[in-house]
Symmetry: C2
Subunit: 390 residues, 2 copies
């Protein structure tokens, strides 16, 4: 793999964004600020209409499951950014490989995207998956640490996006579908213990952390390691989600009581899936109000050795709602890494194949990505502690 | 009103129990042990079938909303015990007044049963409402204390029925419908503060108490004072429900998120009431397993004065599942007071009219009821502390 010198190339690119949700909008916003030609497609006219008004952004109605239509639109682009709900991500990726030179995906699909690596290589398409904040920036950090370490002992990722003020159902709001939030609580969490991948319940292994300026948060296991369990060797590795205290217990209780079940139950003379009812209830209540501030917190720690030295690499990110652009922090921190990587992938900075985000870190791209993020106001502190290895 | 001498008369009675749920069954069980003639009616054949096999108990299928049928069956009885869900209680009571000499109700109806007092007097029917544990025994205790006090300062009732072991959704199980459990969390709680009736949210004013042999419980406001706000004058008065810690927060969150709403919402192309989905999910999960032990805790404190003396009357009840009879404590403590009062009402111990349970306490019936309960293994400790009034 080549080394990356200039991460953000200057040439304007033609970009297609598939999915006009909050994240897709933020990607479009970011790219359009840089004189790129941006097209946004979505199946829903109303969603597209809300996205109109950005300079250099064209909207087109198309269903992501309509493969010929999607491939036709993609063929005119330098890069496609997949910003679909997780359930639609993999199929769209399969459709797009071979139709355009580069794809960056942030759908958090449940399927194994690396299974498409050979197909992408054959087709000459560069694909970066899981390219948001976590998975995404988190994994680039881990990749960067691994590049500097001879052996890696422990990897820990803590991440959460929250309303800046507590309140509302379960002290939570989300810039995306309750289905995807709940999916994180239902999926078994794959973590690494004693060098083995083990499976734990989502929402388990609760711990409390203090975040300056934010307060006390709780952290619990979710299935966020993704490709890391295969690409990085460490004796322990876990990813935890951050929420206000009490959220995990409430979600566990809802899960145990069946409110997240996809199995239809009889209610009167109808049959409904409890998850659909839960999502229908939470959708309006978990949506941010206009200009309601949110905050994103991420902490990544990689503990390892190089020669006789023990090295602990850590990063901390606290980002907040941006009143100037009216972009929520969750949108900023998820969309900007995707937009930054998309510009580079479009400019040929990466070879063909399906790449997880840690590969970008291992290629030395992290600092350039962090620099680009900082220019957008998303700031990280990085620390490297060195000591004697025991 | 006459004074009561022998609370439990010897003459066998003919009793009709309307509603063959867990409580109705326990009333039938108790009366049938005492050579009484017992009839149980219910709209549901399967529920009736489960109640068959008790000696001296006849089952009959009839809908409680079929007034002529219900009145015809009731006319052959000395007493009718209403053990219907709360939504059906008032209408059945209206139907039965005038059809039989005495009625004891434990449906926890939302309506004001005292509104039927004049009708009951005219018809010559004796009615005791709210005649379970709380409201019921709790109010008899308050009535007994009031009888002994010149002025009453504070009344506090704490009560809860719980599975003996924590676990399952929201650390709770119930011997009755989730609709009735949830109703307690949704109804505004009427309490007395500074001699005025004020309305608080259900599930509010959380406090923690330690119960020996049970552990730490939380107590929160529910609307359990019922008639007491009108029949007893005290500067402060409240009723709180006991649960395992965390239950109230989870229920508040469910309530705020709309899971208890009776307003239908769109789910796909159907319309469903979230409460119906919640009840359908919780019904099987909140039901006790065969022979699963439960525990009932009640604490009643009445603080007042008599002359220059300050008198604090208090009672404590802890009752557990009875393996010998396979009756849950919730059934025992709710059904036995109703059965005991029913035998007395059938024997003409009370005048015509609608009586709240505190009236029985004010008539001096409490000790006799407690004695009967003790003979069934439901034991209370009573304490009276005297000091100087400040």
């Amino acid at each position: 793999l080549p080394t990356i010198d200039a991460v953000e190339a200057d040439r304007p690119i033609r970009a297609l964004i598939v999915g006009a949700g909050n994240i897709g909008y933020a990607v479009a916003f970011d790219l359009s600020q840089r004189s790129d030609e941006v097209t946004v497609v979505d199946a829903d006219e109303r969603r597209l209409a809300r996205r109109a008004g950005l300079p250099r952004v064209t909207t087109r109605r198309a269903d992501a499951s309509d493969a010929p239509a999607l491939r036709a639109i993609a063929s005119a682009q330098d890069v496609v950014i997949g910003a679909l709900p997780s359930a639609l991500g993999y199929r769209a990726l399969e459709t797009l490989i071979g139709a355009c030179p580069a794809i960056v995906d942030i759908s958090f699909m449940p399927e194994d995207a690396l299974a498409l690596d050979a197909a992408a290589r054959r087709a000459g398409t560069t694909v970066v998956v899981d390219c948001g904040i976590a998975p995404g920036l988190s994994h680039m950090m881990v990749g960067d640490a691994v590049r500097r370490l001879e052996s890696c002992r422990a990897v820990k990722i803590l991440v959460g996006g929250l309303p800046a003020a507590r309140g509302g159902p379960f002290d939570y709001k989300a810039g995306f579908s309750p289905y995807d939030v709940i999916e994180e609580y239902v999926r078994p969490a794959r973590i690494v213990e004693d060098c083995e991948v083990v499976v734990r319940e989502g929402l388990s292994d609760l711990e409390t952390i203090e975040v300056p300026g934010v307060g006390t948060l709780e952290a619990f296991l979710t299935d966020g390691l993704r490709t890391l369990t295969r690409t990085v060797h460490a004796s322990s590795m876990c990813e935890k989600t951050l929420r206000y205290p009490g959220h995990a217990a409430a979600m566990r209780a809802l899960r145990e009581a069946g409110f997240f079940s996809k199995q239809a139950i009889g209610v009167g003379d109808q049959r409904v899936r409890p998850l659909d009812v839960t999502a229908a209830l939470l959708f309006p209540r978990w949506a941010f109000d206009e200009q309601e501030p949110d905050v994103t917190i991420m902490k990544v720690v990689v503990d390892g050795t190089s020669g006789s030295e023990r090295i602990v690499c850590s990063w901390e990110l606290i980002d907040r709602y941006d009143a100037a652009t009216r972009l929520h922090s969750m949108s900023r921190t998820t969309a900007f890494p995707a937009a930054i990587v998309a510009r580079n992938a479009a400019n040929g900075a990466l070879p063909a194949g399906v790449h997880p985000p840690e590969a970008l870190g291992q290629l030395g791209m992290l600092d350039a990505v962090l620099q680009e993020l900082a220019s957008r106001g998303v700031r990280c502190t990085a620390e490297t502690k060195r000591g004697e290895s025991r």
